[in-house]
């Protein structure tokens, strides 16, 4: 099976390495060091004032097969969201190349955009507008026709457990879990070949989390959608993903099936190895440790 996503030696950093801020009135306490993703909090008072450099994605390479659920597991600030944004044409890589279904994300962004959609950790909507108004807007941007889309919106939102009454009220009146379901509905409406899910269940209650996970599984099985899922939930990664890349400080430190990853590390005190044990052994710190 041909890969749906190809990531080749991608590098992305924020901030310029030797950019000294010449504007005295904009000078702030900044670091001189090149920090890995999420880092850069150190400060040397005697050093010249330079802008902090954060390496978010550090020469990452992998392939996602068509119809696969590919997990990217890592701590906050590990570079997962940056990677998703690079694939989604929302960031430009400093080096390396990314192809989605054969199209280059930098040279052919329009073709890539027709094939993908994304659900981010924060449900971004016009909060004063209703779910129907928001989704109709999103669907029309993908060239979908209004009348048929309205019917489909009601059907999808109903399937996601939203009451018919609620779908015409402003989004600001909905819980975060409900808003996240609407975000998933927005992505489903455009029928993407590749779905990028950036921590879609973070902050959801256990029931909503299970419902969202069921939808992800259903999408893969029924529509054959290729899904790239980032998470820092070990159980979720194990439950959903065919393969998992463990990412830390912008680098992929391991990539295999959940079973394959567990074989990398012997179980503590003869117990069965968990993904958490694997992560701890490979990175030297627990997953919930803020970097």
């Amino acid at each position: 099976m041909s890969p749906a996503i190809v990531v080749r030696d991608v590098y992305k950093q924020f901030g310029k390495p030797d950019a000294v801020n010449r504007w005295w009135f904009w000078r702030k306490a900044q670091t001189t060091s090149t920090a890995p993703a999420g880092g850069g909090n150190g400060h040397d008072a005697k050093a010249p004032i330079r802008r902090a450099v954060v390496v978010a994605v550090d020469h990452v390479s992998f392939e996602v097969r068509e119809g696969e659920i590919f997990g990217v597991l890592g701590p906050n600030g590990g570079g997962k969201s940056t990677l998703i944004r690079l694939i989604a044409t929302l960031l430009l890589p400093d080096a390396g190349a990314i192809h989605v279904c054969g199209y280059d994300v930098v040279r052919q962004p329009m073709q890539v955009r027709r094939l993908i959609n994304r659900v981010s950790v924060e449900a971004s909507f016009f909060k004063k507008l209703s779910p129907v108004e928001n989704l109709l807007y999103g669907a029309r941007l993908y060239g979908l026709e209004g009348r048929a889309t309205r019917a489909e919106i009601e059907q999808i939102l109903g399937r996601l457990g939203l009451e018919k009454r609620a779908i015409h009220n402003p989004m600001e009146q909905m819980s975060r879990g409900m808003q996240q379901k609407v975000a998933i509905a927005r992505a489903l409406l455009s029928r993407p070949r590749v779905l990028l899910l950036d921590e879609p269940t973070t902050g959801l209650d256990p029931r909503s989390k299970r419902e969202v996970q069921a939808i992800i599984r259903e999408l893969q099985q029924q529509e054959g959608t290729t899904i790239l899922l980032t998470t820092h939930d070990m159980n979720e990664a194990e439950l959903l993903c065919d393969r998992i890349a463990i990412m830390d400080q912008g680098r992929v430190v391991a990539l295999d099936t959940p079973t394959g990853l567990r074989t990398l590390v012997p179980g503590p005190n003869g117990h069965i190895t968990t993904l958490e044990d694997v992560f701890l052994a490979l990175t030297g710190r627990p997953l919930d440790d803020e970097v």
Binding site: S2, P3, A4, I5, V6, F14, A56, E63, S81, T82, R85, A88, T89, L90, L91, L92, H99, V100, C101, G102, Y103, M110, Q111, R113, R114, L115, I116, N117, R118, S120, V121, E122, S124, F125, F126, K127, K128, L129, E133, L136, Y137, G138, R140, L141, Y142, G143, L144, E145, G146, P170, R186, R193, D198
Partner: protein, 286 residues
């Protein structure tokens, strides 16, 4: 290397772009509907503002009693036209820049920029709505002004005035697209920075006074403001009944400015979008 997937041929490119254009118009209309009370407040403010400026005309007549050179009626109409034209152009400008600002705050800008649409389609939808909304908004102010000041528009060429306004709106669309770069790159202060642009144009364009009263340097700057021409043309059409043929020497420079300003605006926006994607300025968190 992955295999290239053939993209589905339907709907056609143009149908998709048209639907996307409509998406922006419908979304902005929905925003007006949801914020209707604020829009009403803004309309009341605009009417009060237009009237208070226009009353200066009558006030000058009274203050200069005995001075036959002051024609209060003419001065009032002069100020009303200036106020209406300025409202029309600035509402277009602010709709273009404010929606980008709202999108930054709501975090939806990433979804809009991730959609498979051309930036021209994006801006066309924004600006079509802005022009229609501005026309409706100003029609209400005009009706109130006509009723209150008993303005006689029987000698006015309303059609020529409208042509002048629409020609001028093209330039303001271009300037608006350029200015929308500010909230795109600076979500906290970008929106306020757009006020500087509009204030400078207000100063030099002769909205409430002829540009001849300005210092020579500002008069030279006024030549580059499309609003200068629109105001001269709209006053000629509404106060002196000048037709489109008479106004043509003023219309063509404005059209030319618009034809330059829109592509330049799109180019500036594309450069800013690229810069934002290179430096990671599109997202507010995560």
């Amino acid at each position: 290397m992955s295999t290239i997937v053939s993209l589905s041929p339907s709907p056609s490119f143009w149908v998709r772009q048209l639907r996307a254009t409509y998406a922006f118009m419908e979304r902005n209309a929905n925003l007006v509907k949801r914020y209707w009370s604020w829009e009403l407040v803004w309309l009341c403010y605009s009417i009060a503002n237009a009237l208070s400026v226009s009353y200066i005309g009558l006030g000058m007549e009274q203050l200069g009693a005995g001075n036959e050179t002051i024609n209060g009626r003419y001065l009032t109409l002069y100020l009303i036209v200036g106020t209406l034209v300025w409202h029309f152009l600035s509402v277009i400008f602010y709709w273009i820049t404010d929606v980008i600002s709202i999108e930054r705050w709501e975090g939806t800008i990433e979804y809009t920029l991730m959609a498979p649409i051309h930036r021209l389609t994006h801006m066309a939808g924004q600006t079509l709505f802005a022009v229609l909304y501005s026309m409706l908004f100003n029609a209400v102010i005009l009706v109130v002004a006509v009723l209150l000041f008993a303005i006689d528009l029987s000698h006015a060429d309303l059609g020529a005035g409208l042509v002048m306004l629409l020609a001028g709106s093209l330039s303001f669309i271009g300037v608006g697209i350029m200015a929308s770069v500010l909230p795109l790159l600076f979500p906290e202060r970008g929106s306020q920075m757009t006020h500087v642009i509009i204030a400078l144009m207000l100063l030099v364009s002769g909205v409430y006074y002829p540009i001849e009263v300005l210092p020579p340097l500002l008069q030279k700057v006024a030549v580059f403001s499309p609003a200068t021409y629109v105001l001269i043309g709209a006053r000629a059409a509404l106060l002196e009944g000048a037709g489109v043929a008479e106004l043509w020497p003023i219309i063509w420079p404005v059209l030319l400015m618009g034809l330059v300003a829109i592509p330049v605006g799109l180019r500036v926006f594309a450069l800013a979008e690229r810069y934002a994607k290179r430096t990671g300025k599109l997202h507010r968190n995560g």
